[in-house]
Every structure is written in C-alpha cells, then in structure tokens.
Amino acid sequence: MGDIIKAENIIFEYPVLDEDGNEVSRTRVLDDVSLCVPEGQFLAVLGHNGSGKSTLAKHFNGILLPMSGSVTVDGMDTKDESRIYDIRQTVGMVFQNPDNQIVATIVEEDAAFALENLGVEPKEIRRRVDEALKTVDMYEYREHSPHQLSGGQKQRVAIAGIIAMRPRCIVMDEPTAMLDPKGRKEIMKTIKLLNREHGITVVLITHYMEEAAQADRVVVIDKGKILLDDVPKKIFSQVELLRSVGLDVPQTIELMYELKKSGLDVPDDLLYEEECAEYLFDMLTADVGDKK
C-alpha cells in the first residue's frame, strides 16, 4: 500500500518577537523531520509538551506549511493552494477541546457542516450524516444541543463531523487530553473502530502511553526531531531513553523493568496487560510447582 502522508525534511520555525514586535530570534520547532504514513496504519506520535508534535500534525493537512521540505498528501503537495480543499477532505483533523470545534447548535447540523461547505447535495448530506453519527454511536443524540452532552460525546460528535467528509486519514491532536477516563475510553474505542473496520488511516498525537501502546507504530518526537520510530513493543522496552526525554512508560513495562532490575529474569517487552498478567501467572505457578 502507498503512503497517504509523506513528509520530507520539513523544517518549521516560530519567530521570537521582542516587546516592539521585532524579530529577535527564531525557535526551531521541527528540525528536518521526515515521516511517511502508509495507508491504513494506526500511527501514534508521542512527545512531551513543546516537543513539536502538534506542529507536525498541523503540517499534515496544510494548516501550517513547512519552511523548507515538503508534505504530500496522497500525491498532492500541501503548498498547492488549488488542491487545499481536496487535501483537507483527504486528511481530516480533530482537536483537543471538543467545545471549540463544534460549530452548530444541533448535533446533526454540526456533523453536516463540512459537507455543506463542500456543496454536497442535501439528500446525500442527510445520508452521510446519519451514517457518520451511527459510526461514532451518537445517532440517538442527533437532535440534541452540544452543551447537553458529556466531553466524550462532544468529541465523538466532532469526529463524526470529520468522518462525514469520508477522509482517508484522520489526524487527532490529543483528542482525549480534556476528557475524563470514561470519555477517553470511548474515544479510543472509536479510533480503533475507524481504523480496523473502516480502514481509515489514523495519526494519533498523544502523551498517554497507554493510548500509544494500542497503535501499530509509534513515533517519538523530542526537540523537533524524530527520536524513535518502531512498533510499540520495541519502543517501550527502551525505558531509560524514554524517561530521559520526559516520557513515561506504560505500567506493564514499568513493572517488568523493575522486576528485571531486582534480578528476575523476565522479558522487557510485555506491553499488553493480558500477556503481562499471563506471564506473571505462569511464572508464579511454575514457582510454586518447583517448590513442591
């Protein structure tokens, strides 16, 4: 399968201004980043605050343009202004605060917003809105007002507003950061459904390790550079390196790491709770068996 997003050697800088608005220096947010996202992948981008991960995400649908280097979405250069709406239709984007991305006063009107902008026929809009709301399991709330909904529900409405456009890729910029644990779970379930059942490529920007662990591939960004790029298991087994860039590791990995440090011979890549629990259970029962 081909790459849906291809970022090549992108550099992005913010000017630093003094009090009179003169440029004093520049802060480099992205420093020569190259990243390809194959179609159908669930990619997680990890990094602590200020690492440049959100800036990178905004390059994926032409919200920001690289100062040097290029970003191509399905073969279209994001610098090509004539294709910008095709690009944004191909790569949808969901932001952190659900309150600030819902435009309309009624759920279904909001889901229809993008299609109305694109000038789709009213009947087709209706069909695709219903479909999108059913996908995120918000169909029964279609006539509610957004402020009556919980955070997780609002974020699902925002996702419905994007998938109604039928994008091939969705970039999510910390979609769970403002939600409670229940809402976070709802969103992760929705993300996995979109990726597995609907074949939508997902780029999840996050700083929650547990969320990144569920992806197919994890990219760790630090100081505007890609530090690691591998499958979750390989990434999280590097406990010291992750900690050195201000990131945490999932609890399972941490447990294994501590056990290993205290002298037990355990593998360090048991990322998922089930396999970790199973391994520990086997180990403990074998231990009991030995003693008998």
């Binding site: 649908n61 919200i63 709406y85 944004r88 239709q89 949808g92 984007m93 932001f95 605060n97 309150d99 600030n100 991305q101 819902i102 435009v103 309309a104 006063t105 009624i106 279904e108 009107e109 229809a112 917003f113 993008a114 299609l115 109305e116 902008n117 694109l118 000038g119 789709v120 026929e121 009213p122 809009i125 209706r126 809105v129 007002s145 957004p146 402020h147 925002a158 507003g161 994007i162 456009m165």
Partner: protein, 279 residues
C-alpha cells in the same frame, strides 16, 4: 442568575405553529408588530390580544413561560407608564394638580395603560417566534430572507454564520463565566455586595479572563472550521431545506385578513366611547 434568560430560547414541539416555515413566521412576526402599532383603540388592542392568545394556545407554549418572558422588561414598562402619566396633557380639568407642576389628566391614565399593554403584547408576541422556531431555522430563514441584499454586497451569509456561532457559544460562555466567578470568589473576590459602581468594578477580574478565553476559543474554532473546508457562503449547500407549503400560505392569508379587519376597526370605530386617540 444567568440561567433565567428566556428571550431567544427555543421550546421544541410539534404544533402547527412549530411546523410553519420559519421565513413565513418571521414575516408574520413583523406584520404582528406593525399591526400592534396600527391598533389605535382599545377594541383593536383587544382584538390583537385575542389573536395572540389563540396562537399561543395553538402552539402549546405554557403560560408560565409567557410571564417569565415579561419579567426582564417590567422596568421598561414601568418607566413608560410613569412618563405617560405625568406628561400627557388633556383638554379637560386635571384629576390631580400639585402646584401646576404635577398634573395628571384622565387621558394620561388611559394612555399609560394602553402603552403598557401594547409593550407587553409586543414582547409576548415576538417571543412566540423564538419559542417555536429552532435557532438554526431562524438563522436560516434570516439568511434566505436577506439574500436579495447579497447583490448590494451585504455580507448576508457571514451575518447568519455569526448568529449561529453566537447562539452556539452562549451556553458555553455562561458556564465559563460561572466557573470564573467561583474561582475569583475562592480567591476572596467580593462580587455580590457594595454599590453599583463597586459591583461593576468587581466584575473586571471576571471579564478579563472571560475575554481571553473567548479569543482563544475563537482562534481554535476558526482552525477547526478551516479543517472542515469552510470558505464562506460561496457554493454552500444546506442539509435541511426550508419548505413552504399550503399551510404557510393559509397562515399568511389569515394574518392578512386579520390585518384588514383591524384597519376597518380603526376607520369605523375610532373611539368606541373611550376618549382616547394615540397622539
């Protein structure tokens, strides 16, 4: 305190009034206001009142709501009454004469009652529009009704979009205001006591964070709208189309008939035994 505002609220329902085309409803609402100001005697006013009550019964909107909508304009009514009472000069003897300064004439009393009733009917009648029409339909209808102005380069779509966003963010910002007020109170701010000036000054630490957050929200919303391919009104379609049917034209015809009757009333029974004419 902020949650009591009923003006502009929508109460969903399925009555005939709810189902009328919102464009027709706006036109009829304007006609209603004109009618109210055409009625120049009590009989006309009573007729308009009966018409309005009939519409309310049809819409199923409760009496309590009607009274609630009147509460915020009570001071306005009171001021109108007092001004009319003291400043209308009649032809006969004044009922009350204090040193030639304060003089109350019978005409003053009738005029102030007439004015009070007229303002009340105005607010109650106009509230029916927002009670029975969803904000989306309302902004849609305004956009469609004003669309001829597009030729004069009047930003009709932008206006409608602004109204939608304003309506969308009212509850969000009210919630935020409550939160900020609590936060400031927790820091020892005194928001509830003192004179008017002191209270106004105490609101500054509430307003500043509210404005900062509103600008931040606006920025993020603009970004989200851009991501969803928003590019103004050009080439835009709508999911829900406004449909006008026979019932809308009948409603309009009924309204026109009623208007005609009112004008006849004005011409043939200008006084109805009450010595009153609007100046």
């Amino acid at each position: 305190m902020l949650k009591d505002i009923t003006i502009g609220q929508f109460f969903p329902g399925n009555s005939l009034i709810h189902r009328l085309d919102s464009r027709f409803k706006i036109i009829m609402d304007i006609a209603y206001v004109v009618m109210l100001f055409t009625a120049s005697n009590y009989l006309g006013l009573v007729a308009v009142g009966l018409f309005m009550i009939l519409l309310y019964i049809m819409s199923g909107v409760g009496l309590r709501l009607v009274l609630k909508s009147l509460r915020p304009i009570m001071p306005l009514i009171a001021i109108t009454c007092i001004l009319n009472l003291f400043f209308i000069r009649g032809s006969g003897e004044p009922l009350l004469n204090i040193g030639g300064v304060i003089m109350i004439y019978p005409e003053g009393i009738t005029t102030s009652i007439f004015m009070a009733v007229r303002i009340m009917f105005l607010i109650i009648g106009m509230s029916l529009l927002t009670y029975t029409t969803s904000p989306i339909e309302l902004t849609d209808a305004i956009e469609r009704l004003l669309s001829p102005l597009k030729k004069l380069h009047f930003p009709v779509h932008e206006l409608a979009m602004m109204m939608t966003i304003a309506l969308r963010f009212i509850p969000t910002l009210i919630e935020e205001t409550d939160k900020i007020m609590s936060a400031q109170k927790a820091r020892g701010a005194n928001l509830d006591t003192g004179g008017l000036m002191k209270k106004a000054k105490a609101l500054i630490p509430v307003m500043i964070p509210l404005f900062v957050s509103a600008f931040k929200r606006a920025n993020e919303l603009a970004l989200a709208m851009e991501c969803r391919c928003y590019r103004g009104g050009e080439g835009r379609t709508r999911m829900k189309q406004l449909h006008s049917g026979l019932k809308d034209y009948i409603a309009l015809a009924v309204m026109a008939l009623f208007f005609a009757e009112l004008i006849l009333l004005n011409i043939y029974i200008p006084y109805l035994g009450i010595p009153y004419m609007v100046p």
